[in-house]
């Protein structure tokens, strides 16, 4: 018995001569929300498909609880939301969800689930008349079927408006609170920042980061950006005194590492009247992502 709901160990996947996934290991505990980030083609969707058993592995192994990917037990306990999913346009939302419930072999409260994802009014309309966001919600409704142990969501927020995204993350939190291990592959960095427990970053099939946001920030040592607005034509003077760069006639930008931040602020404050405004931007997930995904730092 393992304590993680999803265990990925040294997974390698070759497609022809290219290696799509190279020695990727990842664990997701029950109730944990992990974000899987990476460029297009970094291997996120491939990794999810190997977990589902849809794509055979070249090397390594994956276990869902104690089951192998693609086994009957694994399929019953795994929920999946494909990227930009669509369904047969002739069926209604209720009929489509009924099919999934019957395939899952469980009795389900179809109406309740569709209400939960906000499709209560549209459940008896044909999917052909649904918007992209509504199809995505229907996809989410089938994720909630039968209390999954592992939920794999591929770009779950694509096509959703901001309110729907909030709803989606509320549902994901609820899933996690019920003990489901959630793996979210996403591009929407700002949301992932607030809504996940851990972040894993894939670059060209290699896992380059896997930790909490705070730890990743500390490890990366990314600079905080200070933007100082100087009064009159003192910008050059300020730039010289602080060692920053002038970016327009009135503003100066200083980049400083976390441990030098206070020192720089004190120096700026000491300059008195010359300074009219300071704007401070700590490193964001986007910078962090760029750092790990592009620079190749481990």
């Amino acid at each position: 018995m393992t304590d993680s709901a999803l265990t990925i160990e040294h997974v390698r996947k070759d497609r022809g001569k290219t290696t799509v996934l190279d020695d990727v290991s990842l664990r997701v505990a029950p109730g944990e929300r992990v974000a899987l980030l990476g460029h297009n083609g970094a291997g996120k969707s491939t990794l999810i498909k190997t977990i589902l058993g849809l794509t055979p592995l070249t090397d390594g192994q994956i276990r869902i609880g104690d089951a192998k990917p693609g086994s009957a037990v694994a399929r019953r306990t795994t929920a999946y939301l494909p990227e930009a999913v669509s369904f047969h346009p002739a069926l209604t939302g209720r009929e489509q969800l009924q099919l999934f419930a019957r395939l899952d072999g469980q009795k389900a409260d179809i109406t309740g689930l569709l209400d939960r994802v906000g499709l209560g009014d549209a459940m008896d309309r044909r999917i052909g008349a649904y918007s992209k966001g509504m199809r995505q919600r229907l996809g989410l409704a089938q994720v909630l079927l039968g209390n999954p142990k592992v939920a794999l969501l591929d770009e779950p927020t694509s096509g959703l408006d901001p309110i729907s995204r909030q709803d989606l993350y509320a549902i994901i939190d609820e899933l996690a609170a019920n003990g489901t291990a959630v793996l979210i592959a996403s591009h929407a960095l700002t949301e992932v920042e607030a809504q996940t427990d851990r972040i894993a970053i894939l670059r060209k099939g290699i896992k380059v980061a896997d930790d909490t946001l705070e730890n990743l920030s500390a490890q990366a040592g990314l600079p905080t950006k200070l933007r100082i607005r100087a009064s009159g034509d003192h910008a050059d003077e300020v730039a010289e005194a602080t060692g920053g760069t002038r970016i327009n006639c009135a503003s100066v930008e200083i980049l400083c590492t976390p441990d030098r931040k206070m020192e720089a602020l004190r120096r700026v404050a000491a300059m008195g009247e010359v300074i009219t405004d300071i704007e401070m931007t700590p490193p964001r997930l986007e910078d962090l992502y760029r750092h790990y995904a592009k620079e190749g730092a481990q």
Partner: protein, 273 residues
């Protein structure tokens, strides 16, 4: 079993919902009725009842129409799902691939059988009402309906095969059209050319009949024509079929659905959505 039924009933719902079932039935009915009335002229001169003549005409029709209708339903079965992105989702559920394919097959075949039975049955009933029917011509009608369904089954499965091999639904549609052309038109033309070249040599006498019956569409024709003297007389096509043993055409038509389905299943197994 519940999974098989879930897939089959959903597919049936789709066929009803997008009016495919209605369309296919109307097409079969219209063509069968038109042929029955248009073909009723030679009844007196050949000396068979009107139903026999009608069955003969409908046999010729079914060779073209049954494969076409079958391919029209089935080409989308896998490629369409893959294109919509719902195939990977479907395969992430506990249903096996064989179960999914069999569920779709059952629903599609039921729809096809319904269209065939209503179309040919209604035309046959009208022919019998106006021009009389005997035990033999009724058997011929029943055989026509049964073999048309078998022929449809072959091309449903072949449609799944090209659907599994194609990257998109459009490609699958193109391949299906090609498949239809080869089996229904070009194969016969090729054989005809070979027979003309060979004259009455060994090819024409011993190889040609077997090659003919190896094609499900021709096996369908041979079975319907050779099994009934009346139909054979009315169609004026007695020649080649008589050199074959009686079991050859039924065997070919019975084996083809199994073979085609096995091929489709094997191709589907290799699909990585």
């Amino acid at each position: 079993m519940t999974r098989f039924l879930a897939i089959a009933s959903t597919e049936m719902l789709i066929l009803r919902r997008n009016r495919w079932l209605l369309m296919a039935t109307v097409i079969m009915l219209l063509f069968a009725l038109a042929l029955t009335f248009a073909g009723s002229a030679p009844t007196g001169s050949v000396g068979v009842d009107m139903l026999t003549v009608s069955v003969t005409s409908m046999t010729t029709l079914s060779v073209y129409l049954a494969p076409l209708l079958a391919l029209m339903i089935s080409f989308d079965a896998i490629a369409g799902e893959a294109e919509r992105g719902s195939l990977s989702l479907l395969l992430s559920y506990p249903a096996g691939r064989g179960e999914i394919l069999l569920g779709k097959f059952a629903a599609h075949l039921a729809a096809l059988a319904f269209a065939m039975t209503v179309g040919f049955g209604a035309a046959g009933a009208i022919a019998a009402w106006f021009g009389g029917a005997g035990a033999e011509s009724l058997t011929a009608l029943a055989r026509l309906i049964g073999t048309s369904i078998l022929l449809g089954a072959v091309f449903l499965a072949l449609g799944y095969l090209v659907s599994a091999l194609s990257r998109s639904a459009t490609a699958a549609a193109g391949l299906s059209a090609g498949l239809w052309l080869v089996f229904v038109v070009l194969y016969d033309l090729g054989l005809l050319g070979a027979v003309v070249m060979d004259g009455s040599g060994t090819f024409t006498r011993s190889i040609f009949p077997w090659l003919m019956v190896a094609n499900p569409a021709d096996a369908f024709r041979v079975w319907n024509i050779s099994a009934s003297d009346g139909v054979a007389m009315a169609s004026g096509m007695v020649g080649a079929a008589q050199t074959l043993p009686a079991w050859a055409a039924p065997l070919s038509l019975a084996l083809w659905p199994l073979l085609a389905f096995a091929l489709a299943r094997a191709a589907f197994k290799r699909v990585e959505p």
